[in-house]
């Protein structure tokens, strides 16, 4: 019953089938099924995107200057990153140059998202895969304090502080109303932390919940609100006025100081709480080396955080650009998003149809027609799926491939590429972590490696915010207050036809938007997002995607408690609202179903 995939993984569907639906602590809706062998080791994994909204067809015929607002609503967790990608796509299509200050402010906003999103992911979406909340009740607050003070000089670390939090959790548990902690997998043998580490982590779970809302105030200052701040084709909407009357209506000295103070506090929190916690937790899970999947084989990044405005060369991007295939770290390939041979999407196993499903399509030529059908071996019915049939169509996610390869994207991909390129900003922190934990480089290619890379990137992002805020101040001081270029604001100035591509490195990985503009309106719009890459189903050749590959060969302590499955899926920070594609560019009417 065992088959070998072209990308080198062995699948065996003979064992017990386990279904996890809904997968929780992710953005959106997702289902996962695995087969376990007689030793409870995962031998087959099936990842299904279970939602589809159709945003790209909704965009057809609209004003390209409005597209950022629509695409921003693809995701409220990685809020702003789609909007940034969208304004870049429109600017690319129309040849719009943005002011240096706009580039700095956009970078600060994108880095704000990286820092806040990684922090929230670690504590609120991922930590409970490693941290046993109930075990924290058994901790000695004094020993917890000693542990905390041994790894960080964060001031909130007294025995009394941890005792208060422990009492609060204790009374909460004793109330019998467990809220979000209800039916968790407490006491599962896969939890390895001592009670004191659990108490420290739970305490910081609560602290991080209170602190994360401070970071996003930077979006509020430059973009007016968060989630979903405002953006602008041609620059940023916030004007700068530090010298003259009326400054209260613009970015003035008080606003700049507020941003600056938030950046300092963010650096402090990440470096003194997040990173020490990450390292402490990792030290107890060093032996849990599973979940590498594609990360040692095929990773990709488009690059982001342009140092100077209007320079899209790889050398100007602070996050690296490139692709590694066949596990060869010695060679980082260039990635060209305009080349029709490089990025293609397949739908043989997705709930969409192509005229020829053996072939892939480049996003500029993208077709997306829904086709919700289940395979002959499905257990259950069309509206009550018990077990899915992965030999047929089984996901609302398409299967994107780079030169035919399934790729992993995200923080680990970026850091592996930066490491492979020998960039000291990535290589040195990675080497320090490996040295501190006494681990070989191969340890990087794992669930824990993914989680660690995200933490390092959170810190990197916070420090880069400082770089761009200082750059903004220096530029204002040099007399440049410009924030928007309106030369091509009026659609009358546009060519009859234009097409462009915009990219970012979203928190979850490489993100691209492809736009075709005709007569001042959107003619076609396609987004290929990080979770489309990572959560992709199989392609016609049978290559499996990153989620499925990462789950393979992982032992599960208790078959009815999917702790290890959640742990590895969460390490990718799945975002399902992002990943799920849309219907045909023709947007034909579908059968309407009456409200019952």
């Amino acid at each position: 019953m065992s088959v070998q995939t072209p990308n080198g993984f062995e699948l065996d569907t003979s064992g017990q089938r386990i279904v996890v639906d809904p997968v929780t602590r992710i953005e959106g809706h997702m289902r996962c099924e695995v087969n376990l062998d007689e030793n409870n080791v995962i031998r087959n994994a099936v990842s299904t995107g279970t939602m589809w909204r159709g945003l790209e067809v909704i965009l057809r015929g609209r004003d390209p200057r409005d597209a950022w607002a629509f695409t921003e609503r693809i995701c409220g967790v990685c809020t702003g990153t789609h909007a940034l990608t969208s304004v870049r796509a429109v600017e690319d299509a129309l040849g719009i140059q943005i002011p240096e200050n706009a580039n700095s402010i956009r970078n600060i906003m994108q880095l704000t998202l990286q820092a806040q999103d990684h922090l929230v992911h670690f504590y609120h979406l991922h930590a409970l895969d490693w941290v046993d909340v109930v075990s924290a009740l058994k901790a000695d607050p004094k020993a917890t304090s000693e542990l905390a003070q041994s790894i960080s000089d964060w001031p909130l670390s007294s025995p009394g502080y941890f005792r208060d939090v422990q009492n609060r959790i204790k009374r909460f548990v004793e109330s019998g109303q467990l809220g979000p902690f209800m039916n968790g997998y407490w006491g599962n043998p896969a939890y390895k932390l001592p009670p004191e580490a659990n108490l420290m982590a739970v305490t910081h779970y609560l602290e991080a919940l209170d602190f994360q809302k401070e970071i996003v105030k930077i979006h509020t200052i430059y973009g007016g609100k968060n989630p979903h701040p405002n953006w602008l084709v041609g620059g940023v909407p916030c004007a700068i006025n530090v010298h003259e009357a009326g400054a209260v209506g613009a970015i003035n000295m008080e606003r700049l100081n507020l941003v600056s103070s938030i950046i300092d506090r963010t650096i402090d929190f990440i470096d003194k709480v997040y990173i020490p916690d990450l390292m402490a937790i990792a030290s107890f899970y060093k032996d849990w080396t599973y979940g590498g999947g594609l990360s040692s084989q095929a990773v990709m990044s488009y690059g982001d955080i342009p140092d100077r405005a209007n320079d899209s060369s790889a050398a100007n991007q602070m996050l690296p650009r490139g692709a590694i295939i066949n596990g060869n770290l010695a060679e980082v390939h260039d990635v060209d998003l305009r080349d029709p041979e490089q990025i293609q999407e397949f739908v043989a196993h997705s709930w969409f149809s192509y005229a020829d499903e053996s072939k892939g399509l480049h996003p500029w030529d993208g077709v997306t027609e829904p086709n919700f059908v289940l395979g002959p071996n499905t257990k259950g019915t069309k509206t009550r799926i018990e077990e899915i049939d992965e030999s047929a169509k089984y996901s609302w996610i398409k299967a994107p491939r780079w030169r035919g390869h399934a790729m992993e994207v995200g923080p680990l991909a970026r850091w592996v590429i930066g490491y492979a390129q020998g960039n000291p900003e990535f290589k040195e922190p990675v080497e320090k972590v490996l040295t501190d934990l006494q681990l070989p480089v191969s340890a990087l290619f794992s669930t824990l490696g993914r989680t660690a890379a995200r933490g390092l990137e959170g810190s990197w992002a916070a420090h880069k915010m400082r770089h761009f805020q200082d750059k903004l101040m220096a530029n204002i001081k040099a007399g440049d207050s410009s924030t928007a270029n309106i030369d091509k604001w009026d659609p009358k100035t546009w060519p009859k036809e234009a097409k462009g591509v915009g990219t970012t490195e979203a928190p979850r990985g490489a993100l691209g938007h492809w736009i075709v503009i005709k007569d001042g309106k959107i003619d076609n719009y396609q987004a290929v997002v990080p979770t489309t890459w990572n959560g992709s189903p199989r392609d016609p050749a049978g290559n499996i995607g990153a989620f499925e590959a990462a789950l393979l060969n992982t032992p599960v302590a208790k078959a009815d408690e999917p702790l290890e499955i959640l742990r590895t899926l969460h390490s990718f920070d799945p975002c399902l609202a992002c990943s799920t594609h849309i219907m045909s560019p023709d947007g034909e009417e579908l059968t309407r179903v009456k409200v019952r």
Partner: protein, 365 residues
């Protein structure tokens, strides 16, 4: 429920004095725009009530409502979740998954029949047999109906649940449908916005816990206390509008001086929300303050009313005397939508029994 603690007990054992507790109650009353005398009533409620279970379901959405909710500064969301409500199901933050998660819904429905709040983020799609949003192998709309059947009241978080929002924009390929069109037999509160303001979300919940009733709603089903006035009515740039001082181009002198954004397409004159008063992220700013016009994200069908940069020309925009219902109907512009709005208003009236006296001052012109 013998072990259930009241909110007051929770605060006391966290070392909060009675004096501080009463101060909190009076601040809460102020935050909610209530008269100071009601602080005592809040205190009494907090002292005596167990935590109300909240089941928070997710349909087709982008999770911006949850993300906004966790930004709440007063009250802090950690206090809301640990001390005020019992957030027993929310697939964004809950520890359990799969069948253990689904079991919670069954348990709470049985144990707290008629006594839990259903909070819905996103909406059910009805095309593709409902299977463009699948939860537990089934259409989300089935889960929604089941959980709604035993709830006390429904909160429709955000513009997805309230109106349909972005996935329901033309041509609405999944037939994404607002919650009130699917759940018609329960009291339902719409808290629109993409997303709603965090403190508005926690304000609505705190109000319901405190007064044990749903807040007074306007004809479209929104709490009047937060959605009773247009952004334009309380905008700090309003004097520039009245003086005819406008931003004419991005980053022009007017933009740098904080002039009115009306000519840049600001939808503040037709948008009912608390952005210009409560503001965002603990009062730091709001879209207009940061230089971009309001895009009207709390209004029904705001995606399909032309470009965000077009002038607002299809409605009466001068004066502050117009009300949400009248402008809503006028802006809708078609008889069909006006009839729908009226039907919704009637439904809201029906379900408002027990919601106290029905003040109509906002309905008068």
């Amino acid at each position: 429920m013998a072990m259930t603690e009241t909110f007051y007990e929770v605060m006391r054992r966290q070392g909060i004095t009675r004096r501080s507790f009463l101060k909190f109650c009076s601040l809460t009353a102020t935050a909610l725009g209530l008269e100071p005398a009601l602080a005592g009533k809040i205190a009494h409620a907090m002292e005596t009530k167990p935590r109300t279970p909240v089941l928070w379901l997710h349909g087709l959405e982008c999770t911006c409502c949850s993300e906004s909710f966790i930004r709440s500064a007063h009250p802090l969301v950690s206090d809301v979740v640990l001390s005020m409500i019992s957030l027993d199901y929310d697939d964004l933050i809950m520890a359990s998954a799969g069948h253990q998660a689904e079991a919670i819904l069954t348990e709470i429905r049985e144990k707290y029949k008629g006594n839990y709040i259903l909070a819905v983020e996103g909406n059910p799609p009805l095309n593709q047999d409902g299977m463009s949003c699948i939860v537990g192998g089934r259409p989300f709309v089935e889960q929604l109906k089941e959980v709604a059947s035993d709830c006390k009241a429904v909160i429709s978080w955000g513009s997805c649940a309230s109106w349909g929002c972005v996935q329901a924009a033309h041509p609405n390929p999944t037939q994404a449908t607002p919650v009130h069109e699917v759940i018609t037999d329960k009291p339902l509160i719409k808290v629109p916005g993409c997303p709603p303001i965090a403190e508005v979300m926690t304000g609505v919940i705190t109000y319901m816990l405190t007064f044990d009733r749903i807040p007074e709603l306007d004809r479209q089903g929104r709490p009047k206390m937060f959605y009773g006035q247009r952004i334009h009515d309380k905008c700090y740039r309003r004097p520039h509008f009245d003086a005819g001082q406008f931003v004419e181009d991005w980053d022009d002198e007017g933009a740098r001086k904080g002039y009115c954004l009306y000519k840049m397409g600001c939808k503040g004159p037709t948008t009912y929300n608390a952005c210009s008063t409560v503001r965002w992220n603990n009062g730091v700013s709001f879209p207009i303050q940061s230089g971009h016009g309001c895009i009207g994200c709390s209004e029904d069908g705001f995606w399909d009313k032309g470009s965000f940069y077009d002038h607002v020309t299809n409605t009466h925009v001068f004066g502050i005397e117009a009300n949400a219902d009248r402008v809503g109907i006028a802006a809708a512009g078609t008889v069909g939508v006006a009839v729908t709005a009226h039907a919704v208003a009637s439904a809201v009236r029906r379900i408002k029994q027990g919601a106290g006296e029905h003040h109509e001052e906002n309905d008068k012109t």
